[in-house]
């Protein structure tokens, strides 16, 4: 290769970097707009959505203070319930489905095969199909509190998780487990001390997928939870939009920003795992 070609290549790469920098800024604009507007007065948000706050429209932290108790439901409660449901559901799904998947992959009976195919089948069933009856069932079984809704999540989310876990278990050499058995490990110890550590990459992938699903889920908790007592962040935001949002845009913008911040922190700290998890989860179907 001659030097002029190299130079041209270098220049085109620099050009790409510049254009992608601009594109990235444009990509982040919607979030910046929320940030800017959360400091502005209502009138200014309505008419000059894209303007920076000036002396007249600057509200300081007032929108945030107002947003906390806005809409007759304290926002921090929604955040806590969201957090509780996400953490417990993810933990429960990871624990139960990894055990089930190990069983399904290692015990080749008719029943474990039926369970496996039912799981695969449940992956292509949209939520709308079971929506009404699931909400009724969980209501009558008293699964409508943030402490019990993880069971509903386990049931409805088991398909993908079992599918992903059992795919990975099949690739683990059986000799490792046999060695553990010869050394006197029972199934419980074999699973928790030998298999589970080997499953770590899949645990992270499935964990990321479940966290993203449960944290952002709107319809399932909206239908299942007792809404007069418990709200999650998406329910809270939609509730504000429906009833109070048009009244006080500023406070709603502040709450939206507050609900995005945990996601961004989570993303920036576990970015590597999140992207890997997403790529792994894409193989479903």
């Amino acid at each position: 290769m001659n030097s002029s070609l190299l130079k041209r290549q270098r220049r085109s790469k620099a050009l790409l970097t510049v254009s992608f920098s601009i594109l990235s800024v444009v990509y982040l604009l919607p979030i910046a707009i929320v940030l800017i507007n959360s400091f502005k007065s209502n009138a200014s948000i309505n008419t000059n959505t894209f303007a920076l706050p000036n002396e007249q429209s600057w509200m300081g932290l007032q929108n945030y203070i107002k947003g906390m108790t806005f809409g007759n439901y304290p926002f921090w409660k929604s955040v806590l319930f969201s957090l509780l449901i996400t953490v417990v559901s993810t933990f429960l799904i990871l624990l139960c489905t990894s055990m089930a998947a190990w069983y399904v992959a290692r015990v080749g009976t008719l029943f474990s095969k039926i369970v496996y195919y039912l799981c695969v089948f449940s992956m292509i069933v949209p939520f709308q199909m079971v929506m009404f009856t699931l909400a009724r069932t969980s209501d009558s079984l008293k699964l409508n509190t943030p402490w019990t809704i993880p069971i509903v999540y386990l049931g409805f989310g088991a398909g993908l998780a079992v599918f992903m876990f059992s795919g990975f278990v099949k690739s683990i050499p059986l000799e490792i487990e046999e060695a553990a058995a010869i050394d006197g490990c029972g199934p419980i110890r074999t699973f928790f001390l030998v298999v589970l550590p080997l499953l770590k990459p899949t645990l992270i992938s499935v964990g990321v997928l479940e966290i993203m699903w449960v944290w952002n889920d709107y319809l399932l908790p909206y239908l299942v939870l007792d809404r007069t007592k418990y709200m999650t962040i998406p329910i809270h935001i939609q509730y504000l939009k429906g009833s109070y949002g048009s009244v006080d845009l500023g406070a709603t913008m502040a709450l939206i920003l507050l609900s995005i911040i945990p996601i961004i922190i989570f993303y920036l700290t576990c970015q590597k795992y999140i992207i890997k998890g997403v790529a792994a989860g894409a193989v479903k179907g």
Binding site: A14, F20, S21, L23, S24, Y27, L28, P30, I31, V34, N46, N48, F50, C96, M99, A100, V104, A105, R106, V107, G108, T109, L110, F111, S112, P126, Q128, M129, V130, M131, F132, T133, T137, S138, L141, I151, L154, G155, F156, L174, E178, A181, P187, I188, T190, F191, N216, D217, L219, I237, L249, T252, I260, I263, Y267, Q271, V278, A279, A282, G285
Partner: protein
């Protein structure tokens, strides 16, 4: 390996389990009160029907468990892998059935299997609350095809799915291709483009409706006044959210293309465009399959973004012009004043559509993949 339990034992398990399951199911579907029962039988049946849901669930789960225990002793013929031959591993695990498999299976029954069966059943009935149903055969299914709102939602969803499928995949592939050219800062760009994917649909809808209203207010109109704004607004929103996700999958696909075949194409004098078209794209066909499948089902099942951005507005009589299928089903189930039966029938049709798309699309695109 032979079965542990003898055949007669298993048959007893199946029969008892089946009976328990049937008893529980009939109570849960409130069929006893419609049967001409008399005497003590009637008293017991009605008692079970009136008992708490936990009782019925327990009876059904006990029945299912008995069947499961029976089936658990039948070896599946074509189980892959060598686990079957390893008595060392297999037997001890099998004894742990109640601990390892049962909790997940029970939750799966409550969270998926039972609602699915009951939903299927209720789609053939006329009901407002699940207890008071009235069998109506195929009437619900007939009624939804003459429902203008539903057919509109179907074509609207189809159009939206097609446009978003093309937009998202073309842009995602272009971005992924550019980012794998070895430019400076590609990791930062990747981080940025992926981020919107983590924000939930409701919040996304609210962010974008603020932006669109901010623009449209200067033209004296609004997102909820003209349906074309709702359509393209939703496309922009979905593109913003999904491009990063698909980009990640495409990047992985492009990076997996062996370096030497690209080199070979270059040496043979292929232009960059030709290399892309004839070498790179056929080799990333698996990624294209996955991404097409994902965007297709994501768009088809879209709900949160739809309800948060326009909520189906503007309304044209009974037709909500920017309403997609999922939202239409939701309204038919929860905002109806008469029977919820048609709503449940719509849900079943929706399920069949989604399932067919998944299956057809996968088998169609799999054929085009390059044999490795």
């Amino acid at each position: 390996m032979t079965s542990k339990k003898m055949l007669p034992v298993r048959i007893v398990l199946y029969v008892c389990g089946g009976c328990l399951l049937l008893i529980g199911l009939l109570a849960a579907l409130n069929i006893y009160s419609r049967m001409p029962l008399t005497g003590a039988l009637q008293t017991w049946a009605l008692k079970l029907e009136g008992a708490g849901s936990w009782w019925r669930a327990a009876v059904m789960l006990a029945g299912l468990t008995m069947i499961a225990v029976g089936l658990n002793d039948v070896d599946s013929k074509n189980t892959g892998g060598n686990a079957l031959n390893s008595k060392l591993v297999r037997r001890p695990i099998k004894r742990m059935f109640p601990l390892f498999l049962l909790p997940t299976f029970a939750a799966f029954c409550i969270g998926f299997l039972y609602p699915f069966v009951k939903g299927l059943f209720l789609s053939f009935t006329k009901f407002k609350i699940t207890r008071d149903w009235e069998w109506s055969g195929l009437a619900n299914y007939k009624s939804i095809f003459s429902d203008a709102g539903f057919t509109h939602a179907f074509w609207y969803t189809a159009a939206f799915t097609l446009v978003s499928l093309i937009v998202i995949n073309v842009f995602a592939f272009a971005v992924a291709y550019a980012l794998t050219r070895g430019m400076r800062g590609s990791n930062v760009f990747r981080t940025v483009f992926f981020m919107p994917n983590l924000i939930g649909g409701i919040v996304l809808g609210y962010i974008w409706s603020t932006i669109f209203e901010g623009i449209l207010i200067h033209y004296d109109t609004s997102l909820v006044l003209e349906s074309k704004f709702g359509f393209w607004g939703l496309i922009i929103l979905m593109a913003w959210q999904q491009i990063g996700y698909m980009m990640i999958i495409y990047i992985a696909g492009i990076q997996a293309v062996p370096e030497d075949i690209i080199e070979a194409a270059k040496i043979d004098g292929a232009s960059a465009w030709k290399t892309l078209w004839h070498v790179t794209i056929p080799n990333v066909m698996p990624s294209i399959t996955i991404c097409t499948f994902l965007t297709l089902t994501n768009s088809f099942k879209l709900f949160d973004q739809n309800i948060a951005l326009t909520g189906g507005r503007p309304f044209d009589g009974d037709i909500h012009t920017t309403e997609m299928l999922a939202l239409n089903i939701y309204r038919a189930l929860y905002e109806t004043k008469t029977s919820r039966g048609p709503g449940q029938a719509k849900a079943v049709v929706f399920f069949i559509l989604v399932a067919t798309i998944s299956i057809i699309q996968l088998s169609a695109t799999r054929k085009k993949e390059v044999q490795q």
